[in-house]
Symmetry: C2
Subunit: 190 residues, 2 copies
DNA sequence: AAATTTACTGAACATTGTTTAGTAAACAAC
DNA sequence: GTTGTTTACTAAACAATGTTCAGTAAATTT
């Protein structure tokens, strides 16, 4: 039943956007009453957390191929490319994971957070592997990883939240691509 | 009267956060009825836009000292430092300007947008000045500016939206500072 | 067959954005 | 000075949405 609710919610959410969906909508989609949803999820936040987990899983699946690249630097680049690609292709899911303001108080207990931590740890380990192989001069893996993450997140979130209006619409993705190349080149000289 | 409304709204908004404020709250604060607000602002969006303009002005004021630095590279660095500082110190205002999902359809007509564009243009010109003085090897001012902006925005927005839980709370700002230094060093080798 | 548990719902409530109909004061016109 | 008009404002209502509650009907247990 939770599966049924989540699938409907995620589908609605990906078509109509997060804001455009409410409890009655979701209930209607699965042909139950709104009150039924509250039998399976305490409130909208719990449903939100569950959706966040779905998004985290989708993101992990999207990143998976990059994790299998052998060379650490190639892996890092592919990882970044796929991270950004995920954000641009699934703005609603990315939003849910990294932007939406929601009570994050108890998220640490959530499997979702564990998934995110695992991915982040893998990312830092890849950076460390690059350092070990002398791809970077700096040995501060945490800061390098954080810097790269901030850049990628900045690109995706500015795009998602429509703050790139000063650039022509058809050039935004290209600019992001150029910027990604630039940061990789910059990073190589770290 | 608009001044009265805006000041009350901005004050409430900065103390209770954006989500925690509604039209009745604001009206109450200035001891008028909620309906009165609609005499001066068509709807909540218009009030939102006006608030966004206030935030843009606050941001410009915060950045102003950096604009007077003579050396372009020093100016660029001070600009970045102050941009990030603004975001960390005034998360609600930053949120309003760069994160909040709001109908941006007509914002191009807004003075607010003009302010943002002006600042962005100034930023790009500073980057260009750095290029002219051979601070960078790359000559692509637009991409350099965009890259730096994405990084700064990424840092601020991940912080604001509580996505830095994997780092101890008391180390988050320090990490951001280190990352900023790193990107500056990286940039110098562009 | 009776009692209990499970799964669900219609109706209602609270909050919040928004509209409407109306009032009362200030002002204008004669 | 009365009468019409404009201005500034409000109480009350409406609509959408999150949430709760009392009740029902089927399934299960005893």
């Amino acid at each position: 039943m939770r599966r049924l609710i989540l699938d409907a919610a995620l589908h609605l959410f990906r078509t109509k956007g997060y804001e455009g969906v409410n409890m009655r909508n979701i209930a209607e989609a699965i042909e139950y009453s709104a009150a039924t949803l509250y039998l399976y999820y305490k409130d909208k936040n719990e449903l939100y957390f569950a959706l966040q987990f779905e998004a985290a899983a989708a993101k992990r699946d999207h990143l998976l191929p990059a994790m299998e690249v052998q060379d650490p630097m190639e892996r890092l680049i592919e990882f970044g490319r796929r991270y950004i690609d995920f954000g641009f292709k699934h703005p609603d899911l990315y939003d849910l994971l990294f932007i939406t303001k929601a009570p994050m108080e108890h998220i640490e207990n959530q499997e979702c957070w564990a998934l995110g931590i695992a991915t982040h740890t893998f990312f830092e380990e890849t950076v460390q592997a690059c350092i070990d192989q002398r791809y970077f001069k700096s040995t501060d893996a945490a800061t390098i990883a954080y810097t790269l993450w901030c850049h990628a997140h900045g690109m995706v979130s500015l795009f998602i939240r429509e703050r790139m209006r000063m650039y022509p619409e058809d050039q935004r993705q290209a600019l992001a691509a150029k910027s990604f190349e630039m940061i990789i080149k910059m990073a190589e000289s770290l």
